[in-house]
């Protein structure tokens, strides 16, 4: 099987068949007209020979569809450039050893879930002693001094604490993303930090289910971590980046 990386198409069971599946709801009652509306919508999305494989009545004038079709479009995979964190991932022991060898001081991290967001699950997974999926959190790292401020922390308070503790890195978690509240909140933190002249004194790192490294860079952060991140990923980035800056 020879894949042409300049023209990559979706794959169902045959190369270049372009097969995709999607589901959506229409605010019209289920019926033959609704089914046809779903098919036409799929056509307008550019799908070829769309098949409505399921229509369900959701009540109150809504209907739900599962649709399969062939997407004729392709992308040039070879032309894609994604900014990546270039640091290698180290283990818990390697990170601590690295700090002792290269930084020769404890790494201070201040973390919070900011704004009105009350979901601490992300920040807890990274910072709390216990960690996540068998990886200890930053509080457990002997060479780290980690402060988890919890949830619903105003941006100004997070910065004040970061200054008070002499933080090397600030970690912000944003879980609620309704109406892009997380973007406003993350932007405000960087603006505040710049206004107070402390943006370059510490690393600013954000994380959450809808955060990517690319988005974080765009918002003015040093790094962003999305789903599947473990504490040692964040720790590795922090210590490597601090070491890099120290050498400059």
């Amino acid at each position: 099987m020879q894949v042409d990386l300049t023209k990559v198409k979706a794959y169902g069971d045959t190369l270049n068949d372009g097969a995709v599946q999607l589901s959506f709801t229409l605010p019209v009652p289920a019926g033959e007209e609704a089914r046809e509306a779903a098919r036409q919508l799929a056509l307008k999305m550019g799908l070829e020979s769309p098949a409505v494989t399921e229509m369900a009545d959701l009540g109150a004038g809504f209907s739900f569809f599962v649709v399969y079709g062939r997407c004729p479009h392709s992308v040039d995979y070879t032309a894609i450039k994604i900014p990546k964190r270039e640091h290698e991932i180290m283990s818990f022991d390697e990170v601590n050893e690295f700090v002792r060898r290269e930084l020769k001081k404890k790494v201070v991290v201040v973390a919070a879930c900011t704004g009105t967001d009350a979901h601490t699950v992300g920040i807890d997974a990274i910072v709390n002693m216990k960690g996540y999926a068998g990886e200890y959190g930053l509080e457990r790292y002997p060479e780290f001094e980690a402060y988890n401020l919890g949830s619903q922390v105003p941006n100004a308070e997070l910065l004040a604490k970061a200054v008070e503790h002499g933080a090397d890195a600030v970690l912000v978690s944003q879980v609620v993303t309704q109406k892009n509240i997380h973007l406003e909140n993350l932007t405000e933190l960087i603006e505040l930090a710049e206004a107070e002249g402390i943006r370059d004194r510490m690393l600013f790192i954000c994380g959450g289910p809808r955060i990517s490294h690319e988005l974080a860079i765009e918002l003015g952060y040093d790094a962003g971590f999305g789903p599947g991140t473990l504490p040692n990923h964040v720790a590795s980035f922090i210590v490597k980046e601090l070491a890099r800056r120290k050498k400059q």
Binding site: L58, F64, T116, A118, V121, Q152, Q178, K179, P209, P227
Partner: protein, 527 residues
């Protein structure tokens, strides 16, 4: 309740007795205090509503003035009764006069108790009658509705816009949901007031306001007419305004309230004393209104590890039960919470979930247990999440859970789409119907893995309760016994709202609320 787990009744009794003594220790001081939100709830119960020119709710305006003048420790209602006598006006007019600067709270003359007492008692009796009418209305509607099949299907709507919520709530009811919660705006728990009027903007949910309660209640009452089923409405009696939300819910015929004794302390960093005082009054209102409370132990398992800390859920359920009993709640009104949160990658994780769920069932046989879906370990792989939710539903029907908060396949992605709820209901209906009597057919192997896990959970919960009894709940919370979260006794938000009651403190509501629950049924239990 069949004893499938071979539990030692002496240990169950010991755990319950320890929890009872823990609750007694708290109640040695809870009744010495009132709080700003309790007094605001009293204001709301006697009909004070609306906002001043600056948008501040009138209950806040009035209570703040009384608090500033050091008068709150006597109770709002004695002041109000005297103000009514001296001005000849009603509660709402008086609150408006205070807000408009026309009435100075300290200018209301002192009067001997016999002069105003009947008026105060009358206001309270009138408020209680309104709540009773809403309770009877519910009982009436339920009596004529189709019989319920448990587990009840519970879904949430969370658009931020109450009018959109109402449409989605009704759609969910028509799809088969029995219980609908309008998720609250994420920041509301820390507001020391209840917003006023209908709201159309909120993040992660919609503000709880009395008008919003009314709007969704109306939509669900339409759904009741259309489906012939009673559809229950839920909101969040938590945060800094527990008593006020309870009062609003009682007046607008909500059916369930998230109403935990410790949730605010642990997860919102609300002052310990404030929360414990507030939960007591709010639960009395809920008890009187016939509302089922939901406790929040499920949250422990999203912060701490569900397998390692499963026993803390059991210990907390015992404490929540004892505190709830002291507020007049019947066991049938206690939707004790737990969750399906063990890492799905764990070998035999399903067996451990069955052990936990069956244990809750056997320890609290009359409680309409509230079972929460997997959230912590589900991912953007909606197909996998849908399967895990099916396993969650299977455990529920197997172990006789009653309030099933349905897992959403997009849990890890966004607040649910309309179709996510439809798929969740379809999943639950399939599993519940397809395995309806599985629990009656299955015997759990003696000394097997499930029994061993249940016994371990109970033993550890009992040990924890004994330790908490020794040091007191306050100290236990300081040491991080629950959810791995430590809270200091004097820290947290809202402590300035705690007020020592004066000798002549007057608030007739607790007596009215507890009186009803003091009535006994044939088994000698509160009814």
């Amino acid at each position: 309740m069949e004893n499938k787990l071979n539990l030692d009744q002496a240990i169950i009794d010991g755990a319950r007795a320890a929890a009872s003594r823990i609750a007694d220790a708290l109640h040695s001081w809870i009744s010495l205090y009132t709080t700003t939100t309790i007094e605001r709830a009293v204001a709301r119960l006697v009909g004070i509503d609306g906002v001043d020119a600056a948008g501040v709710p009138l209950p806040n305006v009035l209570v703040d003035r009384l608090h500033e003048k050091g008068l709150l420790g006597h109770g709002l209602l004695s002041w109000l009764a005297r103000a009514m006598i001296s001005t000849g006006q009603g509660p709402q007019e008086i609150a408006e006069a205070v807000a408009g600067g026309k009435l100075d709270v300290s200018a209301v003359p002192a009067l001997p108790e016999e002069k105003w007492r009947d008026l105060g008692d009358g206001l309270a009796a009138e408020a209680a009658a309104k709540i009773t009418a809403r309770r009877l209305e519910r009982e009436q509607m339920m009596a004529t509705a189709a019989p319920e099949r448990k587990p009840l299907l519970y879904v949430i709507v969370a658009t931020g816009n109450i009018y959109e919520d109402a449409v989605q709530a009704k759609a969910a009811a028509l799809q088969g949901a029995d219980i609908i919660a309008v998720i609250r705006h994420t920041g509301q728990s820390l507001l020391d007031y209840v917003p006023y009027g209908p709201t159309t903007e909120g993040y992660g949910g919609t503000y709880a306001t009395q008008e919003n309660f009314r709007i969704v209640r109306r939509a669900l009452d339409e759904a009741i007419k259309e489906t012939g089923r009673y559809i229950r409405l839920v909101n969040y009696c938590s945060g800094l305004c527990m008593p006020e939300i309870a009062a609003m819910g009682a007046l607008e015929r909500l059916d369930m309230m998230l109403n935990d004794a410790m949730y605010g302390i642990l997860f919102r960093d609300i002052n310990m004393r404030r929360t414990l005082i507030d939960q007591h009054f709010s639960r009395m209102i809920n008890a009187f209104a016939g509302i089922i409370i939901n406790t929040g132990e499920d949250n422990y398992l999203t912060t701490a590890d569900a397998y390692e800390k499963g026993y803390t859920v059991i210990a907390s359920q015992f404490i929540n039960e004892q505190l709830a009993l002291r507020s007049g709640l019947r066991e049938e009104q206690m939707g004790l919470g737990h969750a399906f949160e063990i890492n799905p990658a764990m070998e035999d994780g399903l067996l451990m979930e069955i052990a936990q769920a069956q244990l809750c069932r056997e320890l609290f046989p009359r409680s309409p247990l509230k079972y929460m879906p997997p959230t912590k370990h589900v991912t953007g792989d909606i197909f996998s999440t849908y399967l895990i939710n099916g396993m969650f539903n299977l455990v529920s029907i197997l172990t006789g859970q009653e309030i099933q908060l349905l897992g959403m396949l997009t849990e890890a992605i966004h607040t649910p789409f309309l179709s996510d709820r439809y798929l969740a209901i379809k999943n639950a209906r399939y599993v519940f119907n397809n395995a309806r009597h599985l629990g009656e057919e299955i015997i759990i192997k003696e000394q097997g893995r499930i029994q061993a896990r249940a016994v371990e959970l109970l033993n550890r919960a009992y040990a924890l309760l004994k330790e908490i009894e020794k040091i007191g709940l306050e100290e236990a919370l300081e040491r991080g016994f629950f959810a791995d979260i430590k809270r200091s006794r004097d820290g947290g938000k809202g402590k300035e709202g705690v007020v020592l009651k004066e000798k002549d403190y007057y608030n007739p509501f607790p007596e009215i609320f507890l009186q009803r629950s003091a009535a006994k049924d044939d088994d000698g239990r509160a009814c």
